[in-house]
Amino acid sequence: MPIVLYRVDERLIHGQVVLGWGGRLHPDRYVLVCDDIADSVWEQDLYRLALEPGQEAEFVTVAAARDRLGEWRDDPRRTIVLTRDLGTMRELARGGLLEGEEINVGGIHHGLDREQVLPYVHLGTAERRALEELVSEGVTVTARDLPDAHRVSLERLLH
C-alpha cells in the first residue's frame, strides 16, 4: 500500500492525527520528516508515546526522506508522512518527487507575519511562497483538519 497521507501539521503526531486520521486510514507507520527531531532521541521517545499498539514511527531528515520515498511507497505497510511546516514539505517535493500527490494542510498556528485563513491555518509570506512552489512541483494542496471536515482548496487558502 502506498503512502496514505501527506500532512503538514505543527503538532506532528497528536490526537487529530492518531485518532482522527488514524481511525480512518489505519496506518501502520508514521514517518516524521524533520531534521531536528531526527537528531533528538528524547523527542522521538515522546512522539512514540502517542502511537497506538502495533504502530511504529520513523524519524528522518529531509534528505533521508527524499531517498526513501520510493521504498515507503512500495512497502505493504500503510504510511502517513508528516512535516511540521510547509517549507519542509516543499523540500521533500523538489524535483517532482511528490508530483500527482495531494498534501493535506492540517495545522499551522499563528506566528510572526502570519494571518489566519482558517481556524487551524495561518499563513505568512514564507508559507504562501511554499504553497505556490508545491503547486509548481505538481502537487495538489488542500486544507482539512479532520477527514470528515470540508476540504478547503488552495485557491481559497491563498485568497
Binding site: 505543527e10 503526531i13 497528536h14 490526537g15 492518531v18 502517542a50 498556528h109
Partner: protein, 131 residues
C-alpha cells in the same frame, strides 16, 4: 507552608474542557479551585503551549493535568516536565483527580503523583442501579 511552596495545577485540554473542569471543582470545593489554572490548546501552537508551561514551572511546584497523552496537550506537558523535578504530568485527567489534588497539594510531588493516579483510577468503575 506558604502558597509559593504549594503545588499549582494546570489543566491543559482540548476545547473548553479545562474551563469546565475548573468550574466543576469550584462548585464542589469552593475556593480551593484557585489552585488550578485552565488552559485550552485552541489556536495555540506547540511552542506557545510549552512556553506557557515553562513559565509556570519556573514559579514553583507544578502538576500539569493533560486530557490526552497522545494529544498536543500531553506532548507539551511531557516536553516541559522532562526538564526538572518540580514539574510533573498526569494524563487522562478526571474530576476525582482534581478534587484530590486541591486538598493535598502540600504533599511532595513524588508522593502526590501516585496518590492522584490511584484516585483517578479508583473513580472509573462499572456501576449499575438497584435491581
Amino acid at each position: 507552608m506558604s502558597e509559593a511552596e504549594l503545588a499549582r495545577g494546570v489543566i491543559l485540554a482540548h476545547g473548553s474542557m479545562a474551563d469546565g473542569l475548573v468550574s466543576a471543582v469550584r462548585r464542589i470545593a469552593g475556593g480551593a479551585a484557585e489552585a488550578l489554572i485552565a488552559v485550552s490548546n485552541d489556536a495555540r501552537s506547540p511552542a506557545e503551549l510549552k512556553a506557557m508551561l515553562d513559565d509556570l514551572a519556573r514559579q514553583g511546584p507544578l502538576v500539569v493535568f493533560a486530557d490526552l497523552q497522545s494529544g498536543s496537550c500531553g506532548m507539551a506537558a511531557l516536553s516541559t516536565c522532562r526538564q526538572g523535578p518540580g514539574c510533573a504530568v498526569v494524563c487522562g485527567v478526571n474530576l476525582p483527580i482534581l478534587l484530590d489534588f486541591v486538598f493535598h497539594r502540600d504533599l511532595p510531588l513524588d508522593e502526590l503523583l501516585p496518590r492522584l493516579v490511584a484516585k483517578g483510577r479508583q473513580a472509573i468503575l462499572p456501576a449499575s442501579g438497584p435491581g
